[in-house]
Subunit: 323 residues, 2 copies
């Protein structure tokens, strides 16, 4: 049984997910060029940088210059990632980015222990401490979510009950500070998800929080991302994070095979072929994907950018019929 | 609604699909080494070569030597592809291959016109002409199917009615020669399928021919193969062609982005994670995929071979619990 949405929103995260993991430093101008190209595709949200410690993520050392350099397109939200107050203040100082406060915890305690030298309680405390900072800047906290929502290299399977418990922590921080979450991201940080776990976890979250808009953030490390996105579509999920050309990966997952998010143009292709509107120009997206491949200078995972869309074949057929 | 099968059979076609398209000639010994490795993974069917004109497919010029050289494993069917009597006679002469007569037509007339300088009628006649040849060799004709069953670069969308009409031609040839088809392959030759067209076409074929065992042959040119396989699983389809490491592609599709079949180890990973038995050792398959990558000497599409299975993480967790 399908419960396809009539349209989806795709949040492009290639510039952030992609460039933060690239071993070679990408010229700032090339990053800006790609962001500007993505702005012309119909994408409504583009995450352009993360404001993180350049010692840990050298690829993001030029985040301020990237943000200062791109050409904002009307109707597009440009977002950024931050992990602490310092990062948020850099984002706020730029004056060019959309700011939404967020509470994203981890469904896996072991992931926090092993990768962030943290704990669930410390993570909660850190997020609570950010709430007055957001308030001081007039930034509403509307985005919640969970990392490692489908499994974890350090903790193994994550039972739905564990996901719901961590989700309750997220919602309770929001409530404590009188904030109402609108979106809730379920991130498959270490690529454990299958279509069935996507359905199970999405279903459980929506049963508990019927008003929330679920976002799926799907990594393709084990080749399941597009099938997992399809499962999300079957469940009616309307928002997906994605990365142009399949760029990216999580530099902190200690995962040598870490690969990018679900590939934007492959996801757009699937949605459009299923009759689900993306409002994105697939051909422009394919050009941007080819640009992304040139920018990173190595083969990228995307398929439709190599195989091509079906547009030219359909156009040829229409031409034949008309003649 | 899922109608997952309890188990699936995966027909490995990497050696045939993969090596026929490689621009560099692969040493015969390397092909044999890969086939022997695949034999140890639990795969029950491996298509090892195609007997085709070496002028058209130079990568298959050593087909006879490959067939003479591999080490047959008990319980594994070794198969081959042929396109005409000459090819079949080479397969039959080898005495080392399982032979099943087949009637595989094309749902797209334009594909036959443009790629094989043929037509639907000529294709039917050619297959009819093969029937006495099979009979003379005591080979039962049990396998039918259709190329381009989900769309075609030259013909565009293929309506279900067109698929059913072409399928009727297949079954009527079998009936004419008193043969009973057991399996029916639906091939997404030019990668037009989506999960929804897979469901539609599989459903239509099974409604019309309830006793037939459908096989899906899914190309990954546009990144949809694993989602399409998932759709097949949802429909209860129990047999899939696949290619180790995602090797392959159709050299006749005039399709520069032609990429391989659904990747065997990614498909096995998905099935096993969904609780569907494959009887295949995923770790052995990953080793074979790495061998395949070395053999072809360039990056291959497979994901699980790079990202790894989940076995070691689960084993570590069990160790923690035990201690």
């Amino acid at each position: 049984m399908n419960n396809f949405p009539s349209s989806v929103r795709i949040n492009e995260e290639g510039p952030r997910e992609g460039f933060q993991i690239e071993p070679a430093l990408i010229p700032t101008s090339a990053k800006i060029e790609l962001i500007d190209a993505l702005s012309e595709t119909g994408l409504k949200q583009i995450q352009v940088v993360s404001f993180v410690n350049p010692k840990r993520v050298p690829g993001m050392a030029d985040a301020d210059q990237v943000v200062a350099g791109f050409k904002p397109k009307e109707g597009v939200r440009y977002t950024s990632l931050w992990l602490n107050e310092q990062g948020f203040l850099r984002a706020a100082a730029s004056k060019r980015l959309s700011l939404t406060g967020r509470i994203v915890l981890s469904a896996s305690e072991a992931f926090l222990n092993r990768n962030q030298n943290s704990s669930s309680q410390k993570n909660i405390d850190d997020h609570r401490a950010m709430m007055p900072v957001y308030a001081a800047h007039g930034v509403a906290v509307e985005h919640g979510g969970l990392q490692s929502a489908f499994g974890c290299n350090f903790q193994g399977e994550i039972p739905v009950e564990t996901v719901l418990k961590a989700a309750a922590d997220v919602f309770s921080i929001a409530e404590e500070f009188s904030q109402k979450l609108k979106t809730f991201v379920l991130a498959d940080t270490m690529a454990w998800a299958t279509p069935e776990t996507v359905k199970r976890v999405v279903g459980a979250i929506r049963n508990r929080y019927p008003d929330i808009d679920v976002i799926l953030h799907l990594h393709d490390t084990r080749g399941m991302a597009i099938a997992n996105a399809y499962a999300g579509l079957q469940m009616g999920v309307r928002q997906y994070d994605a990365a142009i050309a399949g760029l990216g990966g999580c530099p902190f997952a200690q995962h040598k095979g870490a690969s990018g998010n679900v590939c934007t143009e492959d996801l757009v292709f699937m949605c459009e072929e299923l009759g689900i509107d993306t409002a994105i120009d697939l051909e422009a997206l394919i050009e941007a994907a080819n640009m992304a491949e040139r920018v990173v200078g190595h083969p990228v995972p995307g398929s439709v950018m190599k195989g091509g869309s079906l547009k030219k074949y359909r156009a040829a057929r229409l031409g034949q019929r008309a003649s």
